[in-house]
Symmetry: C3
Subunit: 329 residues, 3 copies
């Protein structure tokens, strides 16, 4: 396995967005992920990164991301160090340049989650500029590329090749917490490149960053797929093969928190239920990156029902990230 | 060693209470713990769980439990991930079902400490219901089974077989912190099953859960041992082979914190000192799960004295938990 | 490598200050650090501490120290456990004696950072007294020995043998945070023992502990080197081979925080800039343990300039600490 990994030529590469990787490079990653998943099922050890260290800097809390990365590096024979800025000296004058340079001298990769709107991507980019080891995004304010890798692997496992499928990405109403826009943005960027038609549905105030929506359009053209935006919830479901209904904040529209919550509450009917699920194809998959706001975003009937593949999707975080680490570190 | 471990048939089993395991199964665990302890002393590697991941979710702080579990899994060749709910997304809508399902897809076991009265055991039970990997208790509001495994191993090492010995479990007065009742409850449940006579002494307001006391009575009958409750401190010491004097809160009597502290302070004389120690057999062991409230629960003279085996007891946490992990994971 | 490490006779030794180790013992450590550094560059595995556990107790935050220790033990095949007192039961009555005894039963070494003035060294000393495994300082209020080991290795790598060189240690003005005095104290203690002439420059209110300054004088005599104290910033730079300009608090003079900040602000001109750098030899190295308060302690031009070796210095933390662990654990 070592030989084919080295031959991929991805050692040392950053991964801040799927946009930075070619379709061929992404396919290399999916192939390795599938192989690592099979090896794990068969109990075959995969110590590809023995005694290597992955730094995981979390500006925001996490269950899936932290545990899938830390378990993944363990299964590859290496070690993950969980870091949060309050336990580091970022508050004592340490800038991104220092953090990047110092950690590059000690270990083999730096993974970062930083979702603060208008700050996260900038920070990751600055660390990547100074680091001599790969910098891997664990989600920023703009992108959540590892989630989307897992989503695609799940779709391909369940429905065969993704090409020609219809994916609905729908905004949902969940006012208890203003969520980032990185998941829908990463979905509309990558899926059309791999030939999946995407319908994105949101109320007008919940649009995504204009240049991301434009890039998605360009990606669809290049990938010979369709990308369209609708302001009608049901459009994401009708005749779809896969639907990913998920809440996010009106961050492009307003940065005012109270106004944001008010807007989220203005569309209580944007919730995934059995009636909406019935609009899709019979085999339509329900996906969600979790944690879902049960009752608000989705009914228990749907998320715990037979079309839901949320735990398979969560599991695939592990496999795609192991492939990512094995290829870049 | 692998063969005998597999033959034990305990792979995949939960461990929320010693009550769920038969006496034979517990004996298998003690035998393996003794063997792992001897191997460690001899410097023999025991990589029984290579690259396997143990999740350790702590709702409450810990020294012994966290370090003995994390060091234990390290010595078995695996990796422990320390998790606290504030760093996870439990606060963002993640329920026990999601946590259980997701972690089951990544790693090999989930250990949990959750001592909030009326909540902890319920949470562990719910995670265990949904998890496809073993769930191990690191203490809940009702049980602290790993502590009691360590206690028993210590008694057997120091005094030979436990059968026929008298163990005194005595409440002590330590008002600075209302401690859980899980330790005395687990002691009275398991020790009589293994043939140890137990005298439990507490002031009336400090009784344990009625159904636990009843179960202890039934266990004593089945184990051909004696279990009795007294409201006189000295009864736990007189003619005893082992004494475990330890504070706990009047949780069954009252949930009011101020009232609880007042009640604890009402019995300042329930403290283990040299006079009380003199009531036991000459070889009587002093044990305590630590941390002890020195001066209030016990005099320094006793806890640092020749009858105290508190550090041997703490050490045995490591060995019994390594056996537990090796058998179930 | 195992044989020569065992022959060094340092197994089980504490490391709270360089003062406790002979010059020969320190040289053994530097030689092993250089070898481990070369092995890492060559990709040669160095699993000298397989499955061994290092406890890292942090009373204060850290980037370099935590990551270099945890990555270091990983590269040696072992495991580091990051502990902070709020996650332990130190707040529930656990004293240094209990912590020392219990952790000694589980793992192979205890590393501690505790910088609170008047408390840290006392705590480390008490743990060392009770622990049966080595206790390693990760910085206290009096000493920061690992930093100084890294500094010396860097000097020797860059300038050959240290003997006869002039090192300037200069106080700088950085009012946003009252920093410990352990770094300058450890510098003036060890460097003269290895034959390096030291000029220590600070405003009168920023003197170090009197007995440390006296010990430095004695060390210089024994090491056939010069140690002098000046109250003029430039004296640390003139004709120097290496300069380490670094802020610290007036802790010996006053414990009043507001007064401390006022005093730090009274000397704004104590900042390392290009003009001061020009006073040294052409090859003069600029060093700093990081994080530096850019703009206050040092200009960006200097710290990011060609004479700065701060990242090499940070990297060497990894190598000296790996040597330290391999020798003592």
């Amino acid at each position: 396995m070592h030989d084919s990994i080295d031959a991929a030529g991805l050692k040392g590469r950053d991964f801040l967005s799927t946009q930075d990787w070619s379709v061929d490079e992404l396919e290399t990653l999916f192939a390795l992920a599938a192989r690592l998943k099979a090896d794990r099922k068969a109990g075959i050890p995969t110590r590809l990164l023995e005694d290597k260290t992955l730094y995981m800097i979390f500006f925001d809390s996490s269950t899936r991301t932290r545990n899938s990365f830390e378990t993944g590096i363990t299964q590859l024979g290496g070690h993950g160090i969980y870091l949060s800025p309050d336990k580091m000296q970022i508050s004592h004058g340490e800038n991104a340049r220092d953090t990047a340079n110092v950690l590059s001298r000690y270990g083999e990769a730096i993974a970062i989650r930083h979702c603060a709107f208008g700050e996260g991507n900038e920070y990751l980019t600055e660390v990547a500029e100074h680091a001599s080891v790969p910098v891997l995004s664990m989600q920023c304010d703009v992108y959540h590329p590892c989630q989307i890798l897992a989503d695609y692997l799940t779709i391909r496992e369940k429905l065969g090749s993704g090409r020609g499928l219809k994916l609905g990405v729908a905004w949902t109403s969940a006012p208890n917490y203003v969520r980032p826009i990185s998941v829908p943005q990463s979905l509309i960027l990558m899926m059309p490149r791999l030939g999946i038609d995407v319908t994105l549905a949101y109320p007008p105030e919940f649009r995504l960053l204009p240049d991301i929506e434009e890039q998605a359009q360009a990606n669809a053209a290049a990938g010979d797929a369709r990308f369209e935006i609708s302001h009608r919830f049901e459009d994401a479901f009708e005749d779809a093969d896969v639907v990913i209904p998920k809440s996010w904040g009106p961050l492009v529209h307003t940065r005012d928190h109270a106004e944001g919550v008010r807007l989220i509450e203005a569309y209580p009917d944007w919730r995934c239920d059995a009636n909406r699920m019935a609009l899709g194809k019979d085999h339509m998959l329900y996906m969600h990156p979790l944690p879902a706001d049960r009752g608000r975003e989705v009914t228990n009937e749907v998320i715990d029902g037979p079309q839901s593949v949320v735990y398979d999707e969560a599991e695939n975080r592990l496999h795609v990230q192991k492939a990512l680490m094995a290829l870049t570190m």
